[in-house]
C-alpha cells in the first residue's frame, strides 16, 4: 500500500442529529443472573442501544483494528468521546451533518506530519507528495436525493477548499477523496436509501453508499470496510487447547479469528490454493483462512526462515479465547501454525509471536529451499584450520553487542552522534590486532595478559586502566625473570620449539604490536607503550649481537632466515611465521591452563631435558628489567669493546665456551673430504 493513498487520512463524520438518538431496536440483556441466586428475582428489563451508540462503537472498533495493525502512517480523526449523545429535542437544523462534512474536508486539506516530512525531503519535488483521503460518514438519510445532496456538498466544499489550499503553504489540495456514506436505520424499518457501489463523481471525488441496519449489522459492515480499506485478511486459528474455566484439568479446543494485512496470505492467493479457508461466517463476503495450532511449540533461540511479519488484531478482542491466546503470546511464547491438509502431511506455514507487546503473524517459508545441500563451511577456504579462537571471538561478539540509544547524543563539536557509527568505530578498534587462530598468538593464550588486552582497545583509558596495564607488564617481567614457560603453540612444527628467551621475545614483540596499534587513541595509551618499551627484556642492539652469536650454532638455514626477519622488527605476521617455522620444545607448554582453546595440546612432560639447563645462567642474566648498573656496564662494555679487537675465540664462542684447536679438526677434514666443507660437530 502506498503511503499517501486514500488510507493515509480517514475522517469519521457521525451524524449527531436528533434522529440518531432513536433506538436501534435490538435488545441487550445485561442482567445475567448467576445460578443459585435466581429464586424470586425478576431480571431487569433488557435495554437497547441508540443509533448513535451503535455508530460510535462501530467506528471505534474500526479504529481499534486499524491502530492495532497500522500504528504508524495512518491517521484518523475521531474525537467522539466527549461529544455525548444527541439530544432528541434539539433543533435539527443547527446540528446538520453538513457541518461535519465541511469540517472533514477542511481536515483533509491539512498537511500531516508524514506528508510534511516527505515534502521536506523531496525539496523541489515536493509536489510529488500526494494528498488523498477518505471520509466515512455515518448518518440517517431521508432519501436517495438526500444522499445526492450530501455528495454535492462534499464535492463543492472540496472545490472551494482546493482553491484556498492552492495559495497556502499550510494546506494541500485534495487530489482524491473517497466518500463512504453509510445510511443506518433501526432494525425492522425499511431503508429509504439504496446501496450504490463506488462511483466517480468527479476526478477528485468518488462516492459509495451503504444502507445498513443498526446494531451488530452496522458493526459487521464497518469490520468489512476496514478490511477493504486497509487490505486486510482474516485467519482463524483453530484447535487452540484451552483450560476450561470450571474444570481446570480438562481442556477444550477453541477458535480465534485474527485480522492482519493480506500479504500474510500471499502464498495461498498466488497458488490459488483454496483447500484452506473459504470458511464463511456472518454472510457470504467474509473469508477466512484456517490454520491449526501446532504442538510442540518453538523455542526462542531457533531462527526460522520468515518471509514476512504482519501485525494482527483479534476480531473479538474481549472474548475469552481471544484474550487467552493474546495473553499466552504476550508472555513471550510463540506458536507455530500448520495448514490443515487432507493428505496428512504437515506443512507449517505461519508463526504467531509477540515482540515487545505487539503480536505479529510471521509467514514461514514452506517450500523447498534453493540452498539445500550447500557445501559445508569445513570444505571451503579456511575449513581445514582447526584452532580458530572460537571462544575468544564469542567473547568479542558479546562485547560488541548492540543496544538502542533512543536519546540523541552529541559529539564534542555539537554534531549529532550516530550510535551505529560508534559501533563501527568500536569494531575497528577492537580488531586492530586480532589473530584468528591459537597458534598465531601467544599473548591471547595467556591469562596474565588479559587485564591489559581488555582495556588497551578502549577509546579512552582511566588512570586505573593504565595502572592495570603497567601491573600486567611488571607481572610479565616477573614471569620472565622466574623463567615461567609460555604457551607457545607447537602446531605444525617438528622437534624442538624456540628457546625460552626466544619465546619471551616473541611474546614481548606481539604485546608491543598490540599496544602500538592503539597509541594514537590517547596519551594514556602512549604511556602504556612507554612502560612496555622500558621494561621489555633487551634493547635491540644487544639482541642483534646475541643473535649473531647464536647463528653459528643454529644448523638450519630456515631459522637463521626467520631470525633476521625478527630482528628487522617486521610486522607481527612475520614474527608469527618465525614461530611457525622454529622448532619448539614441547615441555614449554607446561602450563596447560593458560591455553584456552586447545584441548588437543600435548600433555606437558614431567621432566625437563638437561639441554635447557645449560643455557639457564646466560638467559637469566639478560632477563628482567634493566637495572641502572647493567645499563651502565653495558654502555661501558660497548665503549670498551670498540677500543680493542675482540679475541677470535671469544667472538666465535658459544655460551662463552670456545672450542680449542679447531684448526686440527679442519685439517683432519681436509684429509677426508676434498673441498674442506665440514662443519663443526
Amino acid at each position: 500500500m502506498k503511503i499517501f493513498s486514500e488510507s493515509h487520512k480517514t475522517v469519521f463524520v457521525v451524524d449527531h442529529c436528533p434522529y440518531m438518538a432513536e433506538s436501534c431496536r435490538q435488545h441487550v440483556e445485561f442482567d445475567m443472573l448467576v445460578k443459585n441466586r435466581t429464586q424470586g428475582i425478576i431480571p431487569l428489563a433488557p435495554i437497547s442501544k441508540s443509533l448513535w451508540t451503535c455508530s460510535v462503537e462501530s467506528s471505534m472498533e474500526y479504529c481499534r483494528i486499524m491502530y492495532d495493525i497500522f500504528p504508524f502512517k495512518k491517521l484518523l480523526m475521531a474525537a467522539l468521546a466527549a461529544v455525548g449523545p444527541p439530544n432528541p429535542r434539539a433543533d435539527p437544523e443547527c446540528c446538520s451533518i453538513l457541518h461535519g462534512l465541511v469540517a472533514a474536508v477542511e481536515a483533509l486539506c491539512k498537511i500531516t506530519e508524514y506528508q510534511h516530512e516527505a515534502r521536506t525531503m523531496l525539496m523541489e519535488n515536493a509536489e510529488r507528495v500526494g494528498n488523498r483521503g477518505r471520509i466515512i460518514c455515518i448518518t440517517n438519510a431521508k432519501s436517495d436525493s438526500h444522499v445526492r445532496m450530501l455528495e454535492d456538498c462534499v464535492q463543492e466544499t472540496i472545490h472551494e477548499h482546493n482553491k484556498l489550499a492552492a495559495n497556502s503553504d499550510h494546506l494541500m489540495q485534495i487530489q482524491k477523496c473517497e466518500l463512504v456514506l453509510i445510511h443506518t436505520y433501526p432494525v425492522g424499518e425499511d431503508s429509504l436509501v439504496s446501496d450504490r457501489p463506488k462511483k466517480e463523481l468527479s476526478p477528485v471525488l468518488t462516492s459509495e453508499v451503504h444502507s445498513v441496519r443498526a446494531g451488530r449489522h452496522l458493526a459487521t459492515k464497518l469490520n468489512v470496510l476496514v478490511q477493504q480499506h486497509f487490505d486486510l485478511a482474516s485467519t482463524t486459528i483453530t484447535n487452540i487447547p484451552m483450560k476450561e474455566e470450571q474444570h481446570a484439568n480438562t481442556s477444550a479446543n477453541y477458535d480465534v479469528e485474527l485480522l492482519h494485512h493480506k500479504e500474510a496470505h500471499v502464498d495461498f492467493l498466488k497458488s490459488g490454493d483454496n483447500h484452506v479457508g473459504g470458511n464463511s461466517r456472518e454472510g457470504t463476503f467474509k473469508e477466512t483462512v484456517t490454520l491449526k495450532w501446532c504442538t510442540p511449540r518453538t523455542n526462542s533461540v531457533e531462527l526460522h526462515y520468515c518471509t514476512g511479519a504482519y501485525r494482527i488484531s483479534p476480531v473479538d478482542v474481549n472474548s475469552r479465547p481471544s484474550s487467552c491466546l493474546t495473553n499466552f503470546l504476550l508472555n513471550g511464547r510463540s506458536v507455530l501454525l500448520e495448514q490443515p491438509r487432507k493428505s496428512g502431511s504437515k506443512v507449517i506455514s505461519h508463526m504467531l509471536s509477540s515482540h515487545g507487546g505487539e503480536i505479529f503473524l510471521h509467514v514461514l517459508s514452506s517450500s523447498r529451499s534453493i540452498l539445500e545441500d550447500p557445501p559445508s563451511i569445513s570444505e571451503g577456504c579456511g575449513g581445514r584450520v582447526t584452532d580458530y579462537r572460537i571462544t575468544d571471538f564469542g567473547e568479542f561478539m558479546r562485547e560488541n553487542r548492540l543496544t538502542p540509544f533512543l536519546e540523541p547524543r552529541y559529539k564534542i563539536d555539537g554534531s549529532l552522534e550516530i550510535p551505529l557509527e560508534r559501533a563501527k568505530e568500536q569494531l575497528e578498534k577492537h580488531t586492530r590486532y586480532w589473530p584468528m587462530i591459537i597458534s598465531q598468538t601467544t599473548i591471547f593464550n595467556m591469562q596474565a595478559v588479559v587485564p591489559l588486552a581488555s582495556v588497551i582497545v578502549k577509546e579512552a583509558m582511566t588512570d586505573e586502566d593504565v595502572l592495570n596495564c603497567q601491573k600486567t607488564i611488571y607481572n610479565l617481567v616477573d614471569m620472565e625473570r622466574k623463567n615461567d614457560p609460555l604457551p607457545i603453540s607447537t602446531v605444525g612444527t617438528r622437534g624442538k620449539g624456540p628457546k625460552r628467551d626466544e619465546q619471551y621475545r616473541i611474546m614481548w614483540n606481539e604485546l608491543e604490536t598490540l599496544v602500538r596499534a592503539h597509541i594514537n587513541n590517547s596519551d594514556k595509551h602512549q604511556r602504556v607503550l612507554e612502560c612496555l618499551v622500558a621494561c621489555r627484556s633487551k634493547p635491540p642492539e644487544e639482541e642483534e649481537r646475541k643473535k649473531r652469536g647464536r647463528k653459528r650454532e643454529e644448523k638450519e638455514d630456515k631459522s637463521e632466515k626467520s631470525g633476521k626477519d625478527y630482528e628487522q622488527d617486521k610486522p607481527w605476521q612475520e614474527s608469527e611465521r618465525l614461530k611457525g617455522l622454529l622448532d619448539r620444545e614441547k615441555e614449554e607448554l607446561a602450563e596447560a591452563e593458560v591455553i584456552k582453546d586447545s584441548p588437543d595440546s600435548p600433555e606437558p612432560p614431567n621432566k625437563k631435558p638437561l639441554i635447557t639447563m645449560d643455557e639457564m645462567p646466560v638467559v637469566e642474566k639478560a632477563k628482567g628489567p634493566m637495572s641502572l648498573l647493567s645499563l651502565w656496564s653495558n654502555r661501558i662494555n660497548t665503549a670498551n669493546s670498540r677500543k680493542h679487537q675482540e679475541f677470535i675465540g671469544r667472538l666465535n664462542s658459544v655460551n662463552n665456551k670456545a672450542e680449542l684447536y679447531q684448526h686440527l679438526k679442519e685439517e683432519n677434514g681436509m684429509e677426508t673430504t676434498e673441498n674442506g666443507k665440514t662443519g663443526r660437530q
Partner: protein, 518 residues
Amino acid sequence: MPTVVVMDVSLSMTRPVSVEGSEEYQRKHLAVHGLTMLFEHMATNYKLEFTALVVFSSLWELMVPFTRDYNTLQEALSNMDDYDKTCLESALLGVCNIVQQEWGAAIPCQVVLVTDGCLGIGRGSLRHSLATHNQRSESNRFPLPFPFPSKLYVMCMANLEELQSTDSLDCLERLIDLNNGEGQIFTIDGPLCLKNVQSMFGKLIDLAYTPFHAVLKCGHLTSDVQVFPRPEPFIIDEEIDPIPKAINTDLEIVGFVDIADISSPPVLSRHLVLPIALNREGDEVGPGITDDTEDENSANQIAGKIPNFCVLLHGSLKVEGMVAVVQLGPEWYGMLYSQADSKKKSNLMMSLFEPGPEPLPWLGKMAQLGPISDAKENPYGDDDNKSPFPLQPKNKRSYAQNVTVWIKPSGLQTDVQKILRNARKLPEKTQTFYKELNRLRKAALAFGFLDLLKGVADMLERECTLLPDTAHPDAAFQLTHAAQQLKVASTGASEYAAYDHNVAPLQTDFPSTGTERM
C-alpha cells in the same frame, strides 16, 4: 534463483543455417551450442543453481527436473528429437506448473526460452494467444505474468532483421510486457554462426549468471566471499522515488545481537556466504565453484589451510547463538548467522531485511543501535541475564490493554458481571469495584449509552436490598452511593456527569475489618 530452460524443438528449429565449411548446421545446433556454453559456465561459476530443461512443440515435456548435475543437462541436449509446431502458451503453462510444484510461489525463477522466432500457426500460436488475451476468464488465464517472481529471457536463434520482417519481435515484446516487463529479448548480432551465438549467450551470462563477489568486513578482519544466489536489486514500493537499490560489495558488520532478540525476523531473501580465495587474475578457488581436477583440488587444500574470517565468524555465531548485523547499503541491513543443513553440515548465511531505517520494529531504528560500552550500565546485565530488546512500542495495542468493546452482548455482560461480583464482596473489594464501575461509566458515556447507566444503577440498588444479614454495613452504603452516582451521570446534567469525572468510594467511618455489627 532456479532456472528453467525452455527449448523449442518444433520443425522450424531444423531449418539449415549456411555456415562456411563443409558441415551443415541447423538452428537447433546453434541453440544446443549456446546452451552448452551456458551449462559449462554454470558448472564452473554458478554450481549451486538448480536448472531444469523443458522441450516443447505442440506438447511439452520436462526432460530434466531441477538439478545441479550439469552433465545430465548436457546429455539431454544431445538427445532431443524434432517435433511438430510451436505452441508457446502450453509450454509456459507447463513452466508455471513445474516451478510451483517444486518451489511454490515465493521463490524467484529465471526462465530461459530458446526459440527461432517462428511462433507457430493457428490455435496455440503466440499470435492467437495474444489476440485472445482479453477474452479470458480466471480458469484459462494466460500463464504470464508468472505467479512467482520471475525473469523471462528469450534467446532467439535469429537476427533482428529476420524477426522484424514478421511481427515476431512485437509478439515477443508483448510477452515480456505481459510478464510486467520482467525479462529481455536477445537476438543474434550479424549472420547466424557459432561465434555470434556464443556472444549472445555471453550477454545472458553477464546479465544473469555472474557470481556476486563481495568483501565481508568486521573492522580489520576481512574475507573475500561469494554471495549465492546473487542478491537482486530491490525496488521499494512507494510512490516517492522508486529507485532500485543494489547491495554494496562491502558487507560491513556493525555489531552483534542474540538470536532470541532478533527473533525470526522477516527477510527478503537468504543467501549463502561462501569464502573464496581470489588470486591475482581474479579467478577464484572456493566451494562449489571449481572442477574436480587434481590441480584445483590441491589449490583447494591450500586454501582450506589458510585461516579465514568467515569460518571463525561462523563458528562463534553457532556456539554463541548470535547473529551479526551487517550493513548492505545506505539504510539497508541484513544479518549473518550459522545455518545447519544437517547435523554435520552448516554454513554461513546472510538474510536481507527490507530496506529502510527501521526494518524490525522490535529493534527500533538501526542507526540508533550503538555499542554497549557507550551505555551507562551494561544493558545485558552483569550476568547476561537481561536484554535491551525487544523495544516496547509507545502505545499498547488493543489486546494488550483492557479495552471496552460491547458490540457483542457477551462483552457487555462480562463487564456488568465483573461489577456485580465485586459488589457482593464489598467492602473488601471496594477498590476493584470502583475501578470496574468507572471503566463502565466512562465507556457508556463515550458511546452515549445512557440507558446502560440507569440499568446498572437499578441493578446495584436491587443488590443492596438483597444483601444478607451478615453483610458488612459499609456494603450497603457503597452500593447506594455508586447507584446514585451512575444515575447522576445518566442524566448528563451536573458536573458529576462529566466524562473525566471519576466516582470515588464513599468515605465511611467503619473499621475496614469490622467485626462489630449494628
